[in-house]
Symmetry: C2
Subunit: 331 residues, 2 copies
Amino acid sequence: MQEIRLASRPTGWPTADNFELAETTTPEPGDGQVLVRNLFMSVDPYMRGRMNDTKSYVAPFAVGEPLDGGAIGEVVASNSPDVPVGAHVTHALGWREFSVLDAARVRVVDPAAAPSLSAYLGVLGMTGLTAYVGLLDIARFREGDTVFVSGAAGAVGSIVGQIARLKGAKRVIGSAGSAEKARRLVEEFGFDAAFNYKDAPVREQLSAAAPDGIDVYFDNVGGEHLEAAIASLTKFGRIALCGAIAQYNDTAPPAAPRNMASAIGKELNLRGFIVGNHFHRMPDFLAEAAPWLRDGSLAARETVVDGLANAPEAFLGLLRGENIGKMIVRL
Amino acid sequence: MQEIRLASRPTGWPTADNFELAETTTPEPGDGQVLVRNLFMSVDPYMRGRMNDTKSYVAPFAVGEPLDGGAIGEVVASNSPDVPVGAHVTHALGWREFSVLDAARVRVVDPAAAPSLSAYLGVLGMTGLTAYVGLLDIARFREGDTVFVSGAAGAVGSIVGQIARLKGAKRVIGSAGSAEKARRLVEEFGFDAAFNYKDAPVREQLSAAAPDGIDVYFDNVGGEHLEAAIASLTKFGRIALCGAIAQYNDTAPPAAPRNMASAIGKELNLRGFIVGNHFHRMPDFLAEAAPWLRDGSLAARETVVDGLANAPEAFLGLLRGENIGKMIVRL
């Protein structure tokens, strides 16, 4: 079987040289374990942090070892009565053709309940839950709020904007990295306004799109976007700090935000979060999102790259912002 | 009577020239109004912001008009049955010898219930309530937390540290602007550790004082202190953003904090607040603080400047950090 290993740690932007496609023996499942043939895997911005040798909320990848991350596949051998051969399961050992896991480490899903198997890695998985928890629990979205989302054409951002709309936002504004993405935010995802952050300073464009200010900011980007949002937030505004993709490849720390002092008078609330501590909300999320997905009120776009060998390129493309919606690798 | 007017708006650090001591006619109280002879007035860091012509949570001072702010005095004429002559009242029209106010705009206090009348401007007034609300409600302090306070020798900071100690903090750390202040934080206010932030980078000194990290940061300072605190905060750490005195006189925005992205993985919560929206907590605060003050477990220091004419100098000294505890002007 094939797997992708971390060949070396990047400094700044990663390149194809940091990854290695390796041949290895397909492992045998032990007692209570299953062997999964992977069908789809996820590449996510947070994986960039794991390529560094720094302590964070997840352990760094080890040089010379395979990467890991969200994947979905079919059980092809099982030593567990709970997870039979033929079951479809999601798990956390992607970046390889076959994975061996304890049965307790996989989650059986129903292929018939989703528009595609890969949805369990995106809109019906961690991605969707991240959007849901961040908007509702962390930023405490309320009906009538004006919401700004950065990285809005990405996997999480595109769902945040749509949930805000479905839950009665007054106005939903998104930023993205191209005119094409901004256009699709409005036309396909139902944002009220969107802009290409490369066109002009975020502060100016946000202010023009939300002349009365914003109540909630969902931050996938950090840096200049965060500073602009702090400037636009109204009294008691709320920020969910979810990602900072603008600076994941920076070798020097960013200068922004320089206006934190205005969070005092406006009594802003900024909260960082990672979805791992919010799994208990998955049933609530699925109960709302599955019907939205079925009746078409929630659009879930994917950018699909074929072949495990192309997974590094899919990941690099994600960091460059080449995806619309969830970036998926089909094995 | 005399009053202090705003002569001109400062750029950067204010100077004595921005203030004017003026003679004016002592006003007569109208229907339902009282005339108060002021005995003490408060100077506070937030007043610096009101010297600028910028919209904030309180209106700017007007050039050529008297300043205002917290004061306490004795009623010398009254057209209100609710507030008799001889009553002692706190109100918001300081910076002048006599104030006329609607009776509804003053609060009658009991001189016998406080160690000094001026305490109603400090430890038993807005200052104490700011410390209490910020620590308990905004930063959600819990017994066993390690707490870091900046501007810790100031009016609010010195009370924050003491409340944290009285409520069972594991460790209380303060920063201040001189070795003398740092010494007094430990010796007079019961902090476990304190440092002079001018001695070495805050990040290094905080890390040395709190090798296991901090759980709560009460920010009176902003800038480098805020960045250092974000670096030291543990998982689910909380920040009360109360002031940013380090940058009130800056003409360019500060560069820090450059590490906001680490608020994501640590799931930090940063909340700005102003005490004006938390007056409902005054009874709870007084019920706890008055006994502490009586039995000596809460030390309330004041730096007292004599004479209305010296109020501008008191205010400038406050901005330069020349006070220990509450800066008070005795009229």
